[in-house]
């Protein structure tokens, strides 16, 4: 009798640990995908180069490993949600994680598709291809971004080491993962609610960045430039003179 009780407690603890793992992995995934976006934004521009593309591949690989692990663990979490006493809350938390992961997956997929298209358009195989690159004003390599990516840690990353898949294969694999997850577990995503109210991100200072607010303000001013107030914003395409 007590052993059964103990087992259920152990189960709860295990599931709690797994959820924690998934949450940390989710944060890591967010970090990797946002770095990937920064890299992809430079594709086709004057900052494009082989270094950028290698870094993108590395980032992709990392993201892929996180995704694989996360999807496996989430599937396990949500498929075998047994008749536990506090099952409802746990289930809600798990569902929330599920929805967050799938949203992240979709956003990452759209970035991947864009990147694939851009790489196809600006192949950079020959030297003269560089002439076609758009002069956007970016010159920096994205070294720091790459470093940030490298600093990402996820619980199972050290365990699984696989070679980087091709971009198109990567996309196909992720799409398959997405549809498989959606088919295997029925989750009513509209029942998941946000844990924070709207606008909270504006109030809380981001950790370690309070000192940089003045810099932010000056940057904003730089971006504004001079504002000429004439007719309110309209593009002249359909104006009648």
């Amino acid at each position: 009798m007590t052993s059964r009780w103990r087992r259920s407690v152990d189960e709860l603890a295990l599931r709690g640990r797994q959820r924690g793992e998934c949450e940390r992995a989710q944060e890591a995934l967010g970090r990797v995908t946002s770095c990937f976006q920064q890299l992809a934004a430079s594709l086709g521009s004057s900052a494009d180069g082989s270094f950028l593309r290698d870094e993108m591949d590395e980032t992709r690989n990392l993201a892929q490993r996180i995704c694989r692990g996360l999807s496996r663990r989430l599937l396990r979490l949500l498929s075998d949600c047994g008749p536990a006493p506090s099952g409802l809350e746990d289930r809600q938390v798990s569902e929330r994680l599920w929805v967050l992961f799938l949203s992240a997956l979709e956003t990452f997929l759209s970035d991947l598709r864009k990147a694939c298209d851009l790489i196809g358009r600006f192949p950079l195989r020959q030297r003269y291809d560089r002439r076609a690159l758009v002069n956007t004003g970016c010159v920096d390599g994205v070294v720091a971004v790459a470093a940030r990516v490298a600093s990402v840690q996820a619980p199972w990353l050290t365990l699984e080491e696989e070679p980087t898949p091709d971009l198109t294969n990567h996309i196909t694999e992720l799409e398959a993962m997405l549809s498989e997850m959606q088919l295997r577990v029925p989750v009513a995503f509209w029942s998941v609610e946000a844990t924070q109210p709207a606008g909270v991100e504006a109030c809380g200072g981001l950790e370690g960045l309070e000192g940089l607010q003045e810099v932010e303000d000056s940057l904003e001013e730089l971006m504004e430039g001079e504002i000429v107030s004439r007719r309110p914003a309209c593009c002249c395409l359909s104006c009648v003179g």
Binding site: Q26, S46, S110, T136, C138, D140, L206, I227, A233
Partner: protein, 657 residues
Amino acid sequence: MTIRNTLQDHGQRYRPRMACLKKSEKVLLEMQDPKTGLKSQPQRLVITTIPHAITGEDIIAWLADRFQIDTQEARSFGSMLVALGYIYPLQDHKRLVIKPDSSLYRFQTPYFWPTQQWPVEDTDYAIYLAKRNIRKKGILELHEQEHYNRLHKWMNHKWDFIVMQAKEQYRAAKERKKPDRVVFDCQERAYWVVHRPPPGTVTAMDYGLDRQVDPNSDEAITPDFYERIMIFTQQSIMRPRVKSSVSIGALVKYCATYNNHDPFLSRCLPSNPWVTDDVTYWTLNMPCVEIPTKMRVERWTFSFAELLSDTRGRDDFRLFLKKEFSGENLAFWEACEDLKWGEAASIKEKAEHIYKTFLARGAPRWINIDGKTMEVTVKGLKHPHRYVLDPAQTHIYMLMKKDSYGRYQKSPVFKDTVKKAICPDEHRFSCAQLEQNSKKRRPSLSPIILRQMEQEQRAKMAANIDITQLCRFTTPVPHLAVYSGFTDYPTATASPSLTFLAHTPACPSPISVALDSTSVSERRTETGEGEGEGNPAARAQVGGNVSKSRMALSLRRLLKGGCTPGTMFASLSPKCHSAASTSSRIQPISPDQPSQAPPRRTGNFFQIKVDIPPECRIYPIESEDEEEESRVASRGGVGAKEIICPWESLTTQNGTG
């Protein structure tokens, strides 16, 4: 999990209308060439220098040189590139135009280019707004705040992800060097100015409806595919042809006529609502407005179709016809429109109603159409369908057009309308007022309310039918409770006015095409004679006067009690009038009406009843008929007339002759 919100989807699925995008990209890549492309300069900021800034005048000069066009066109082209989002301004970032001076621009990175395959996701916009919230500490612009609130509501399930991702992206951007960070932020901001424009702007990404089928994809070759090709080519062969000189001449004439009336090619008084967000123009030009504008009244003189298609114009014309006592023509035409565009279930009923009111001999609002057309129409009415009245309607339309329309334009009614027409002053809005206007934009009345208003209007018009507006060929005795009919369909404003322009008599139904071949030639000879003989209008009036006096005579005879109803009404029937009429246009209905009642019933084609409401007694039973006939005869009085459709009485019977 994405709920695909297609409301503001500027994604470019199946949008070959945006073929300009691929072309713009080519031009943009050409501009990058180190030798022949644009020369850039560094942008000097307070703390740093950012390369690759280009001036507006350089862009314009390069475009003019590359494409061999003049400065004005190069400027429009450049503005288009900015409006599409390939180049963004560094100063005044919300105005997507090229300024021909030293204001600076920069090329947008290909990741943010507007292209065909990638839809613009609301998720990305939500993340961007969250990032802006972080940076601006909650102070967003008004429209951004509205979007934020809306997205927070609709994307609540993934809001945690959005906030997390916003924070991560914010941190990731910080890893870059300062100049690049500024550049990236400018790029992202420019991207969203293009794809989520602030209110009051005209966006270049408006492309109209999404196509459901990708026109560039290969179509499966099936028998159906070939069948569609065959139908298309058959219809092309059947289409009537016209010499290009004629059609081009017509186009030129149309453009010359309507040039000043086009709100985009010339001025729109008081102001174009699409540009200034002020709806006075629409209010002044509502369908049932009391006093029309001068431009509107001028349009009525362009063509008869223009007059009829404008509700206000039609009202004015109706008023004029009322004064001339020929309102039945317009009423008939409107009834035919209502039949054509109305519900299928009510066709039979409406057709009979129209017959009784307008076409039958002795009908209260009898219209004047030639014998051949009448014959064809009545024959067709045995099996009524939508287009059964087309020949008659076309005839009446041409009658009104050639006769009444001209007189209308010279009439005091029209002259009065012209005098009273207003010409509003042009609005001159200041910047601030324009912004206020754009904030005050409200949707117009819901179609449900509009339809209710139209129905009320129609009911009011029906209640006001003037029963003295009888055709001059029917009895004008006022104390008769005459069934003036046509209570239900006075103005077919709703559906016909919408579709009228597409279906003028110039686009005849297939049936009328076949019928017209005979009646047109007839009408042509008719009108030819009519015009040749001088003033048909005067003669018609003379005929009318004659008929009126003849009617009075007949009534006096009746009241003396000397004649039976049969002979009296026989004398009143149009059949007799034809002898007196001198107008060649008014042709008699031949006495040998094939659709007449069974031969046994000769003489009076209709019967007289007293004060019977129109709804009853439409299809009387045979025996009752005879009873009433005898009753009337014995009474010697007169009452409400009732028209029996000739196809109703199928069996022969005995009765008083």
